[in-house]
């Protein structure tokens, strides 16, 4: 009974962290069709922003939920203005340019913070269930990602800004004809996507030791989750994160964590082979 509860929490946590890792990329790729390979580095910078803010005496939750998204969002804004705005519609070129950017960020972080592991302690204490110890912070991550998904849905579906953003992504010429500036809307959307990446990096920072290259651990997972999700933003994100999270956790508990990771990757290859348009290319069509 205790064990099954622990396994349930671990599975939920695996799904939640995949949602969190991929949310920023889902906005940037799912809406703007920009494959941001610097996504992992945006998360890394979110982590560093949190740690720096905490060491300056800011409350850890303020640092994670407010400061890190803002800082990374602003960095994303600069990147969009300088590089990405010249490359809209050129999928492969954006991929290469953002890969270059990710190397630049790794280099910068190494020069500023040094090539050592830094970290902060988890702000929520663990507790025991029967004979097992559960990390209380896992609940925080699960709650953050549920709130995040609901908030994304609400903003895109319910607000005027979300409506304009979705319209512009579908037909930027029509949006321009109606008096909205596509340039500015693309800029704001990229800001939001970067801020989400920063938030994810910040929230996950207490769980991992942070090094300048730790973005690389996220990018592949985020990439395959978003691509396997397919064209629908939120339905795709949730469905593919759920399937990959379950597969990796089942194999982790059954065999070993390394096999869990490998199983996730093999599942991705098979899924893409069966459904090249992603999960929402076949199921949940036309949903958000």
């Amino acid at each position: 009974m205790d064990l099954s509860f622990v396994i349930l929490i671990e599975m939920l946590y695996a799904v939640a962290s995949l949602v969190l890792i991929s949310a920023g990329l889902a906005v940037v790729f799912g809406m703007m069709k920009v494959i941001n390979l610097a996504h992992g580095e945006f998360m890394m910078m979110g982590g560093y922003a949190t740690i720096t803010a905490v060491s300056l005496g800011v409350n850890v939750f303020v640092a994670m939920l407010v400061i890190a998204p803002l800082v990374v969002g602003l960095i994303g804004l600069i990147v969009e203005r300088l590089v990405i705005r010249h490359l809209y519609g050129r999928l492969v070129d954006t991929m290469l340019a953002t890969w270059g950017l990710s190397l630049v960020f790794i280099g910068l972080a190494t020069m500023i913070f040094g090539n050592t592991t830094t970290g902060i302690s988890t702000p929520i204490p663990g507790f025991a269930v029967g004979g097992y110890q559960i990390n209380g912070y896992n609940f925080f991550i699960i709650i953050v990602s549920i709130v995040l998904v609901i908030a994304m849905y609400a903003v895109l579906r319910g607000t005027r800004a979300g409506l304009i953003a979705r319209g512009t992504m579908q037909r930027s010429d029509m949006a321009a004809a109606l008096g909205y500036s596509p340039d500015r809307i693309y800029m704001m959307t990229f800001f939001c996507g970067s801020a989400l990446s920063g938030l994810a990096g910040a929230v996950l920072a207490p769980l991992v030791g942070l090094v300048p290259t730790s973005g690389g651990a996220y990018i592949a997972k985020a990439f395959i989750t978003v691509i396997a999700g397919g064209p629908s933003l939120i339905a795709g994100l949730v469905s593919s994160a759920t399937s990959f999270g379950l597969v990796s956790q089942i194999f982790t508990f059954a065999i070993s964590p390394v096999i869990g990771e490998v199983a996730l990757l093999i599942a991705a290859v098979i899924l893409l082979r069966m459904m090249p348009q992603g999960i929402t290319g076949r199921f949940f069509k036309g949903k958000m």
Binding site: I35, V83, H86, L87, R90, L91, V92, D93, M95, L96, A97, W99, G100, L101, S102, L103, V104, F105, I106, G107, L108, T110, M111, G216, A220, F223, I224, I227, V258, E261, V262, L265, I266, A268, V269, L272, R273, P276
Partner: protein, 341 residues
């Protein structure tokens, strides 16, 4: 292609003979050897990406697979001829299977990129986790993150005690690169190569004309992997150790950067890009003021933004505009189409 085939071969031979003679006077042969190997690795991606339109994010997988195959076979056999052949065959077969799975499934650009990337990651993660004594192939322990050291390096065929190393090894590698370059030239001049370029330009049209697009892409993909495998085996001989970092994403990224910087859709571009950037990295590694990764990244971003065609086509068009020749070159539009293919 204004020149005839025999002229092309002659120029290649003369230029490479001069280079092989002059370069060791400028740079140590130890460094030159690895530049030549990287040049071959660059050529392997340049072939499938620049002429076949297949953007492979995991060329490092074939490179690493070649190196590991060589190391494992060399430990088990104790002689280097058969392992060299295996190091070409194993990646080629692996790529043929992977390619068949992808191309017959009609996967294109982004999805292709993701799958090749993921396969590289799988190999990387798996090789990293093989530290235990249960991971043994024949007499060779896979060794996890520490890799496999101490295998038989290249020897004169049939005589396992006469090693080829140092200066002679450089000449072996350089001549191998020239031979591969000539083979690639021949392949691209053959009808197979021309159809491959046709598929890059318009896959649907070539399919409608009756060519088996999936089979041809698979063969081209396997050919690229075979070249990468050969480069991997030569790298294993050069480094005398193979580690899982051969499979890393950084390695794959570098190969792509070489092609972009050197020039896609040319045979020479990826080789020049690989050797040039690897040498630049070597020079940068000797100073500690600016981080190495930062410069590599900046180069990639600047090239994508300002010189997306790469160095070799840019220099070639510059030269032909200076000398007023109207020779036809792969123009920007064709190169760009290739990269979106």
């Amino acid at each position: 292609m204004g020149r005839s085939a025999s002229q092309d071969v002659l120029i290649t031979l003369v230029v490479s003979a001069v280079l092989i003679w002059v370069m060791p006077l400028l740079i140590s042969t130890y460094t030159l050897t690895v530049l030549v190997i990287y040049g071959m690795l660059g050529l392997s991606l340049g072939l499938i990406w620049g002429f076949g339109g297949i953007l492979c994010f995991g060329q490092a997988a074939f490179f690493g697979l070649g190196a590991y195959t060589y190391a494992i076979a060399a430990i088990n056999i104790g002689e280097s001829t058969v392992p060299m052949i295996l190091a070409v065959l194993v990646p080629a077969v692996f790529a043929a299977l992977l390619g068949a799975m992808m191309f017959y499934g009609r996967l294109t650009d982004v999805y292709l990129g993701v799958i090749t990337l993921v396969v590289t990651l799988i190999l990387f993660k798996f090789m990293n986790s093989t530290a235990g004594p249960q991971y043994v192939i024949g007499k060779a322990r896979l060794g996890g993150f520490n890799g496999i050291p101490g295998f038989q390096t290249l020897n004169v065929p049939g005589d396992p005690d006469t090693y080829i190393w140092g200066d002679p090894y450089f000449y072996v590698c350089a001549i191998a690169l020239v031979i591969v370059f000539l083979l690639v030239t021949w392949l691209l001049r053959s009808s197979f190569g021309r159809i491959a370029v046709g598929i890059r330009e318009n896959e649907v049209r070539m399919g409608l004309m009756g060519y088996d697009v999936a089979a041809r892409k698979t063969v081209l993909f396997a050919t690229g992997a075979a070249i990468a495998g050969l480069a991997g085996a030569m790298f294993a001989n050069w480094g005398e150790i193979v580690t899982p970092t051969l499979f890393s994403l950084g390695q794959s990224a570098e190969i792509i950067i070489w092609c972009i910087v050197g020039g896609l859709g040319t045979r020479l571009g990826p080789i020049v890009g690989a050797a040039g950037l690897a040498y630049l990295k070597f020079m940068l590694g000797q100073q500690s003021m600016v981080d190495n990764t930062l410069i590599t990244g900046l180069i990639l971003v600047l090239f994508v933004l300002f010189l997306p065609r790469g160095l070799v086509p840019a220099i070639a068009s510059l030269l032909s505009s200076i000398f007023g020749r109207t020779k036809r070159r792969p123009n920007a539009r064709r190169t760009r189409r290739a990269r979106h293919g």
